[in-house]
């Protein structure tokens, strides 16, 4: 009898608890974000914290994935149409491929539904990257990380050789030769030499400055005199890079620059140089100039490598996800992330906050790059093109192929890929 009474009491206690729990769960929305690891993941976490402080009924699951894992998982989930992700981070060249499959929600429609317009404070060139077809189609993604490839050099060293500001790549080569001859222990040139994306990304500003193109009217354009001049120049410049440059990644470039060993980095990204002016971590405080890339036959054109945020159209929480996107890309959130984490903003106003410019002196160059920078070709085959381009580029770098032979091979292979 006693046991029976106890059981009844427990059951009576559990029923309201279960009902209460059900009531709570109905009000809570959980957004799942497929995001990046490292600094980008930390930046997303900061945005989540500030959002949940204002919206306690929204919870988040943040997946911090490497770049390749993010693409793999996004494609597999989006293809499955399970609605597992509510927000996804996309490396800008892959937006075309994802939207070609029609997997993303139309943000223009969501703006209209909410009765707001795209804030003109967001850099227009960066917003347009999220349009498909580029640059005038509907909007499918907003710019979250305003990455722009920049050019870094030790101004104290370049001044010794009469260069205050590099206008051309020819000047870069001249100074590299002088540094090699006169500055023992210093690596004149730094870049990422790992095959695939890293070496291509480092080379593209040179390639474009020499007037070469990747695709012209949708067809490969690697077998041109401009491309040959660019590659021959790059191979000449690479003679002044450290011996192990073919294994150099972002860490090695950044370490060499911050330690004072490297003189000129032909490619740096804002995420690599956050500690440049931090005396505890940098030996070169006030010595390194971050600028737009030099030109050659064409004016300089920085390469944009933005991380965009989008909402899968199969998400079950599209409205909540859109509200979070507006928060993530707001001026307030971008300023907070920029200050605490160093991830580059995509708004005009945030680039002009004086305290941030003091922390990150390259903000004016970064904003210029965002306004006028170039993007990689919008094609479904970019991953393959980049892979082939990077493979043969590195083979030329290690001396397996001449510049001409490498470009002929790239032209042949990319043509095969596009015509397949």
């Amino acid at each position: 009898m006693k046991r029976m009474s106890m059981t009844m009491v427990i059951v009576l206690l559990l029923i309201p608890m279960a009902l209460f729990a059900r009531g709570v769960s109905e009000d809570v929305t959980t957004l799942t974000i497929a995001g990046r690891d490292g600094a980008y993941g930390d930046a997303m976490e900061l945005a989540i914290q500030s959002y949940t402080a204002k919206n306690p009924n929204v919870r988040f699951e943040l997946l911090k994935l490497s770049g390749s894992e993010l693409m793999e998982q996004s494609v597999i989930e989006l293809r499955g149409g399970t609605g597992a992700f509510d927000v996804i981070l996309i490396d800008d060249p892959f937006l075309t491929q994802l939207q070609e499959a029609g997997w993303l929600a139309d943000l223009d429609a969501l703006y209209r539904k909410k009765g707001v317009a795209i804030d003109p404070d967001l850099v227009e060139n960066m917003v347009n990257i999220g349009r498909y077809p580029y640059p005038n189609g509907p909007l499918y993604a907003l710019p979250h990380v305003g990455n722009v490839a920049l050019f870094a050099y030790r101004q104290d060293v370049s001044r010794k050789y009469g260069i205050e500001k590099f206008d051309t790549w020819s000047q870069v080569l001249d100074v590299a030769k002088k540094i090699k001859a006169n500055e023992p222990g210093m690596a004149p040139i730094l870049f990422r030499g790992v095959q695939g994306n890293p070496i291509v990304t480092g080379f593209l500003p040179i390639y474009w400055a020499f007037g070469a193109d990747i695709l012209k009217d949708g067809k490969p354009a690697f077998d041109t005199p401009e491309a040959l001049n660019a590659l021959e120049y790059f191979l000449e410049l690479a003679k002044y890079a450290p011996q192990g440059v073919t294994a150099y990644q972002a860490t090695q470039v950044s370490d060499a620059l911050l330690s004072g060993v490297g003189a000129i980095a032909i490619e740096v990204w804002p995420g690599w140089i956050g500690n440049l002016e931090n005396p505890e971590l940098s030996n070169v405080v006030g010595k390194v100039k971050i600028a737009a890339h030099p030109g050659e036959v064409k004016r300089s054109s920085s390469m944009i490598g933005a991380w965009m945020v989008a909402i899968p159209k199969d998400s079950k929480n599209i409205d909540a996800a859109f509200d979070f996107l507006l928060h993530l890309t707001s001026a307030e959130t971008q300023a907070m992330i920029s200050e605490k984490n160093g991830v580059p903003p995509t708004r005009h106003s945030v680039h002009k906050i004086s305290s941030l410019v003091a922390m990150y002196p390259w903000y004016p160059a970064q904003l210029d790059g965002q306004i006028s920078g170039s993007i990689r070709p919008r094609t479904n085959y970019w991953a393959e093109i980049e892979s082939v381009f990077g493979d043969y580029l590195q083979r030329a770098l290690v001396g397996n192929l001449t510049a001409k032979a490498a470009l002929e091979q790239i032209q042949r292979r990319v043509t095969e890929i596009i015509e397949r």
Binding site: E100, A101, G193, V194, Q243, V245, T246, N380, L397
Partner: protein, 292 residues
Amino acid sequence: MRNRERAVYSSFFYIVFAPALLIILLLTTYPMVTILYDSFFRYSFVVNTRTFVGLGNYIHIVGEELFQRSLINTLVFTLVASFSEVVLGVALAFLLKRQFLGKRVASLIVIFPMIISTMVICAVWQIFYHYEIGLFNHVLTTLGMQRVGWLTDQRVALASIILVDLWQWTPFAFLIIQAGMGSIPSEIFEAAQIDGARSGQIAVKVTLPILRNQILLVLMLRTLDTFRLFDKVYALTGGGPANATQTLSFFIYREGFKFFNFGRASAASVITLVGVAFLALFYVRRLLGEEE
């Protein structure tokens, strides 16, 4: 009557094993059949388009320089790594067979690399191999020698990965060979000694022939594993420099999960599967043949 009993007996086993067999068929045969089917199509996973191309994927892939390079690298890696691991494993087993002070600690140290995650091992070896600050180049420069681009020189990079594999998996060979040695009755050695055989002769003419099956087993397991090399390439070199460390598994990964060309990835997988099956069959036949 006897036939009936046998039929009942067989049926019982079929019934008992049917669920497990069904699961195995689903988990192994179905993916294999799917891969074989997909390999005859130009199949883009992203846009979900399939066009029948017959043997087109196979013909294209086999003719590609990158695939040929991947195949050669895989064969070189498989042969050198698996044979070296077995030779070193046998040598270690002989070395640690004798009784000496600290034998237990030595055995523990020897098997230590095998229990660490491959990614951790790669991170550690990446530091060892670092051109500027790496341990190996530090030793070389201290001895007045030139630095080596362990992971950056295309002539050395594959050998550097083989060295990491040897470090990690020689203990596995050692463990199996040592277990085999432990199971040899001591009377055999005593008899050989009475017959006047020296320790070298005992090792070559008595111990090794008895360990033949264990050696073949280790060789088979290591061959099959090394043929599928992926993780060390992914973590240490990314296939570079200049494709010097590209392997078949890495080729499949690139085609499948970077480019989402599932038709081409499937064709390359079928070729790899045939290679692995051929190797496995070779060893299994030798192992079973010996038993029969």
